[in-house]
């Protein structure tokens, strides 16, 4: 059935530190899970819930994102009504400056919001791998009589950039704060996805923008906790927030676990991505592959263990790839050895080369490098 929400997605996340992996791209277009880009997860979840009017706000490096999304056909978003639009940073910005925070960015998209017929808005970051039912979020929002529903998740990955959330018995959020050194163990954190009535959002954004505020979480959410019903919708199935290279590595390795794949790929939504018409993967005589996730289009004549191979990767005879992530079009030549290494797209590791990082600090080979 038709859904009554539009969505605004942030292609970049200022709080992410993915260094070499996001030199050439937004976090939204970071390759993940063998054949996906991170934005595929939120897009697929939205489309599954029939939320089909989607605006994506970009900040920089959005070429790879535009190339990935095109007209949105791969997500069934090439519609006459609604559909997907990518907003480069300067489209509505008279100041000729890239927006400072979510408030400014949302203010820029005021026209998009005003013009949409939908009554609600989903606001989401794009660096999250998850599979949830947005219809349930909507139901929760109505049942709780919420002004704003914040999606939250429990994690032990507490970095200084996470926002810890405290709720009362009724799931109303009573506090939002940065973590301090004593915050160890698993905590309830903000997932950076919100569900809110459009009119309320516009008035909150207008008011905050008029006062020079730019931090959505601090200046609108935390400042409004007393007056607004900000409710916590806890996502309890698998969630990966990709904000640093070690979490990117760990989340990729999580996919080797059948339960995680079940949760992420077969739960509610089919995860859709750009179709590339790759051929099936060919395992040659020398193939020795164990506990690995392999996309189509690969040609494997060597050893691959505990690894993720993206589309069209070539693994030469005698090459050994362990605990590694090889992105699209990677060529690992004969007898090369990789351990705890992430090679970005189009890398070539020549014969006999040996690269090794550590689980806590995987080595990253930048896009297009020849070693």
């Amino acid at each position: 059935m038709k859904n009554n929400a539009a969505a605004v997605l942030f292609a970049s996340d200022e709080d992410s530190h993915l260094n070499d992996l996001t030199i050439h791209r937004t976090t939204a277009s970071l390759p993940f899970g063998g054949r996906y880009r991170l934005i595929d997860f939120v897009l697929s979840n939205l489309v599954h819930a029939n939320i089909t009017k989607i605006g994506i706000i970009t900040r920089n490096n959005y070429n790879s994102l535009m190339d990935h999304i095109r007209q949105g056909r791969d997500w069934n978003l090439n519609r006459k009504n609604s559909g997907i639009s990518v907003y480069p940073p300067f489209v509505f910005n008279a100041a000729h400056e890239v927006y400072k925070g979510k408030i400014e960015a949302l203010y820029m998209l005021r026209g998009f919001l005003m013009n949409s017929n939908e009554e609600y808005v989903v606001i989401s970051n794009t660096n999250i791998a998850f599979n949830i039912d947005f219809d349930e979020v909507e139901k929760f929002h109505e049942e709780k009589g919420a002004d704003i529903t914040m999606l939250t998740y429990t994690t032990a990955d507490i970095t200084s950039r996470k926002l810890l959330v405290t709720t009362d018995k009724n799931k109303r959020i009573t506090d939002i704060r940065f973590p301090v050194a004593s915050d160890t163990g698993k905590r309830l954190c903000n997932l950076n996805i919100y569900y809110v009535k459009k009119d309320l959002l516009i008035s909150l954004i207008d008011n905050a923008y008029a006062h020079g505020a730019y931090d959505f979480e601090k200046d609108i959410l935390r400042a409004g906790l007393d007056e607004l019903y900000v409710m916590s919708y806890e996502v309890d199935n698998y969630v990966a927030v990709i904000d640093r290279i070690p979490t990117y590595f760990k989340s990729s390795m999580d996919l080797l676990n059948p339960e995680v794949r079940e949760d992420l790929f077969y739960n509610h939504s089919t995860i859709l991505t750009k179709v590339k018409d790759s051929v099936p993967t060919k395992y040659k005589e020398g193939a020795n592959v164990h506990n690995s996730l392999i996309a189509d289009g690969c040609e494997i004549d060597g050893t691959v263990e505990n690894s993720v191979l993206f589309r069209s990767v070539k693994v030469g005879k005698g090459a050994v790839i362990r605990n590694s992530i090889i992105m699209e079009n990677g060529i690992i030549m004969e007898n090369a050895q990789l351990d705890y290494t992430i090679t970005d797209k189009d890398c070539i590791i020549q014969s006999g080369r040996r690269l090794s990082g550590y689980e806590s600090y995987p080595m990253v080979v930048v896009k297009g490098k020849v070693i």
Binding site: G33, T281, Y283, V289, L293
Partner: protein, 401 residues
């Protein structure tokens, strides 16, 4: 309400045949919809050839069990055939004001769609079959047709002379003009076999179709009626020599062989390389996650597609998308079609397991083949959707379901 977009050349794809020789595989679907090479369907080959040759208007004639095929084709988007003008059209038989009938033969199928073809006012019509595996540039064949000022051009393949009596054979003059057509001749005079791929000058073919329909004794078939009649009338008919890989996959043995040719590549199958950016074969995508080979999985000399999970041992096989191979299962020389499950400890050799079939725990299916003559492989077949009970034994060449 006339369509005013003229197309120089359109294609008509005959996809209505039942394909009885494929047995249980075509019980519920038309032959062109049968899966091929892990992520394709047979029809992907002619459709991809069309779009790669610059033909963007295709009529697909369906009749037998058309739903799966209609659904698969959809609006033609996977082949880039969702066009403002032209595109892909599924053409099942339909009712007219006074009458309506099934397609009686291949020629009658085209005859019944004369209005569709006329709407594009084409100079030429390419006639294709939905059961051949090959990569071919029809634009090159059309250029030859134009150069020869031909009324009809038939693609031919040189086959070993000892096998020529299995094919429709064309006897040619030096300039490749056809002077005789012999269907499965006992004593073939040439080894030029018709591939069932034709280009006609539409104004000429249209006339013959109308005449053929009026002839009550005709079987309304291209091979039996139209081509012999055009030859008898001394129309300009030429052969177009094709040198690449081509296989009619109308039998279990040839379907298995063509799949293995894709896997093997190399001599004789170089032209079947599917990983060719200049001639991609397109297919509808299934939106499955990548394949997963588990810690106990062993895979050698295989083609495997997305969504598949391998816990067992797989050798020399084609494993399609969304397949599960259980622990301690052994698969050799086989084609496992989409969605099938090979349960723990099952042993599958030289077999085709149909889509969504389940081979139960400990089953023994098929046998490792000693030397077989090409085209006479003893392949066991499990029907699509069939549930083979645990510990069943299926011998070589048996068909179950």
């Amino acid at each position: 309400m006339k369509n005013n977009t003229k197309k120089e050349c359109i294609a008509m794809l005959l996809a209505g045949g039942q394909g009885t020789r494929l047995g249980v595989l075509t019980k519920d679907v038309a032959k062109p919809a049968v899966p091929f090479a892990a992520k394709y369907r047979i029809i992907d080959f002619p459709l991809s050839n069309c779009i790669n040759s610059g033909i963007d208007t295709i009529g697909v004639l369906t009749q037998y069990r058309p739903f799966e095929l209609h659904q698969y084709i959809g609006n033609g988007q996977p082949w880039d055939l969702d066009r403002l003008n032209g595109g892909i059209f599924v053409l099942p038989p339909f009712m007219r004001a006074k009458s309506g009938e099934w397609y009686k033969g291949t020629a009658n199928a085209i005859y019944q769609n004369i209005e569709f073809i006329d709407d594009y006012n084409p100079d030429y019509v390419v006639l294709l079959s939905g059961d051949h595996i090959y990569k071919m540039d029809y634009a090159d064949m059309l250029a030859a047709h134009k150069k020869n000022k031909a009324d009809c051009t038939i693609a031919v393949l040189e086959v070993p002379i000892q096998e020529a009596s299995r094919f429709g054979i064309l006897n040619l003059k030096k300039n490749n003009e056809i002077y005789e057509f012999e269907e499965k001749p006992k004593n073939p005079k040439s080894n030029k076999a018709s591939m069932g791929i034709y280009i006609f000058t539409w104004s000429v073919l249209r006339r013959y179709l109308v005449e053929d329909e009026a002839d009550k004794t005709s079987e309304n078939d291209f091979g039996k009626n139209i081509i012999p009649k055009m030859l008898a009338d001394k129309q300009r008919m030429f052969a177009y020599q094709f040198d690449g890989y081509w296989k009619d996959v109308g039998t279990i043995s040839s379907l298995w062989e063509a799949n293995m040719d894709v896997l093997r590549g190399g001599t004789g199958a170089e032209d079947l390389d599917l990983d060719d950016d200049s001639w991609k074969i397109y297919a509808r995508n299934m939106a499955e996650p990548p394949q997963y080979i588990s810690p106990t999985g062993r895979v050698q000399n295989c083609l495997i597609s997305e969504g598949t999970v391998v816990h067992g041992t797989v050798k020399d096989s084609i494993i399609s998308h969304s397949v599960t191979i259980g622990k301690n299962a052994y698969v050799e020389g086989s084609i496992i079609m989409p969605g099938a499950t090979i349960e723990e400890g099952a042993d599958v050799r030289y077999s085709i397991v149909g889509w969504n079939a389940v081979v139960g725990k400990g089953c023994m299916v098929g046998e490792t083949l000693a030397e077989c003559k090409p085209g006479e492989w003893k392949i066991s077949v499990i029907a699509p959707g069939h549930n083979l009970p645990d510990n069943s034994v299926v011998g070589a060449n048996e068909m179950i379901g």
